[in-house]
C-alpha cells in the first residue's frame, strides 16, 4: 500500500518536472523525484541502491544541473510601452510579435526572459542590464541592442522576414558599463 502511494507520487513528480516552464524548478523537482525513488528502493528492500540513489540523484546531479544552468545563456528582454499602461495581461495579448520573438529565441537555444517594465525607455537604457530593450509606441517599435552582440543580426533578419509590416527600427548602441550584453 505504502509503495503504491510513493509510486504514484513518482509519476506525478515526473509529470510536474516535465511540464514546468522554468528549468530551475524542473531541476528541483527532479531532486525530489530522486529522493522519493530512493525511498521506494528502501521499501523494496534494497538499502544499498537507496543510499547510492539518494546521494547521487538528489545531491550531486542537482548541483551539477544548477551549475550547468548558470553557464546557460539567459537572454533578457525589457519591454516598455509609451503610454503608462501597467496592465500586463493587456500588453501580453497585444504583442503577438513578442511571443514569436520568444519562440525564435528558444529555437536558437537561448532562454528568453521578458520583463514588462513601466519605466521610461531612457531609464532602462541607462540603468538596466539588458540584451534587448523594446520600446513600443503607437506606430513604431524601437528595439535597442548591443552592437557587439552577435545574436542581434539573427534577430534583425528574423524580424525583417516575419514582421516586415510593423514599423520596426533596430538601433545598435555601444556597450555601456552596466550593460552585460
Amino acid at each position: 500500500m505504502t509503495e503504491n502511494i510513493f509510486l504514484i507520487t513518482l509519476v506525478v513528480l515526473a509529470l510536474i518536472a516535465l511540464n514546468t516552464k522554468k528549468l530551475r524548478r524542473a531541476v528541483v523537482y527532479l531532486g525530489i523525484f530522486s529522493l522519493v525513488s530512493s525511498f521506494v528502493y528502501l521499501l523494496y528492500g534494497a538499502p544499498d541502491v537507496a543510499i547510492a540513489e539518494a546521494i547521487i540523484g538528489s545531491t550531486i546531479t542537482t548541483v551539477l544541473y544548477l551549475v550547468a544552468l548558470r553557464k546557460y545563456q539567459v537572454f533578457s528582454i525589457f519591454y516598455s510601452k509609451s503610454e503608462n499602461d501597467h496592465n500586463i495581461s493587456y500588453i501580453k495579448n497585444n504583442a503577438p510579435f513578442l511571443n514569436n520573438l520568444e519562440a525564435f529565441l528558444i529555437k536558437c537555444e537561448m532562454e528568453p526572459q521578458i520583463i514588462y517594465s513601466g519605466e521610461s525607455i531612457e531609464t532602462i537604457l541607462d540603468q538596466k542590464k539588458f540584451d534587448l530593450a523594446i520600446h513600443h509606441t503607437d506606430q513604431d517599435i524601437w528595439i535597442y541592442g548591443c552592437a557587439e552582440d552577435y545574436q542581434i543580426d539573427a534577430v534583425e533578419n528574423y524580424l525583417h522576414d516575419n514582421h516586415g509590416d510593423l514599423n520596426i527600427h533596430l538601433i545598435r548602441c555601444e556597450e555601456g558599463d552596466d550593460n552585460e550584453a
Binding site: 538499502p47 544499498d48 543510499i51 547521487i56 550531486i60 548541483v63 551539477l64 551549475v67 548558470r70 553557464k71
Partner: protein, 129 residues
C-alpha cells in the same frame, strides 16, 4: 552562487565533520551493513561539492587529486593480486575481514577523488564563464 550567503557558509562549516564521519562510517562498515566503497566515496565527494557552493575559488589542486586517483587505482589492482598469490590457500576469518575493509577503503577514496575531479572540471573549465 556568485554572491555568497552567510547562513549557508556557516551551516556547511558546521556540517562538514558530520558528513565526513558518515562517509567514513559507510566505507568502513560496508562489509557488515548497507553501503560500501562507492556510496561512502560519493558522500565524501559531496563535502568538496558543497564547499564549491560556499566559496567557488580555484585553489583546489586537481593535479594532486588526479595523481592520487591513479595511485589508488594501481593499489586496487595490486592488492587483490597480492592477496590471492602471496598468501596461503586457506584464509582465516580475520584475513578476509581485513581484505574487505581495505578494499572498501581504497575504492571509497578513489570514487571520492573521481567525483571531485569530474565536478570541478565541469564547473571551472567547461563551457562559457
Amino acid at each position: 552562487m556568485t554572491d555568497r550567503s552567510e547562513i549557508i557558509s556557516q551551516m556547511t562549516g558546521l556540517l562538514y565533520p558530520f558528513i565526513l564521519l558518515f562517509g567514513f562510517y559507510i566505507i568502513l562498515n560496508g562489509h557488515a551493513s548497507p553501503g560500501g566503497g562507492f556510496q561512502g566515496g560519493a558522500v565524501l565527494a559531496s563535502v568538496f561539492i558543497t564547499r564549491y557552493l560556499v566559496e567557488p575559488d580555484r585553489c583546489i589542486q586537481l593535479k594532486t587529486l588526479k595523481t592520487a586517483e591513479k595511485i589508488l587505482f594501481v593499489c586496487i589492482i595490486l592488492y587483490p593480486a597480492f592477496f590471492l598469490f602471496a598468501t596461503t590457500a586457506n584464509h582465516s576469518e580475520l584475513m578476509n575481514l581485513t581484505y574487505l575493509i581495505v578494499m572498501n577503503f581504497l575504492i571509497g577514496l578513489k570514487v571520492c577523488s573521481g567525483f571531485t575531479i569530474i565536478f570541478f572540471r565541469f564547473a571551472f573549465y567547461e563551457g562559457g564563464i
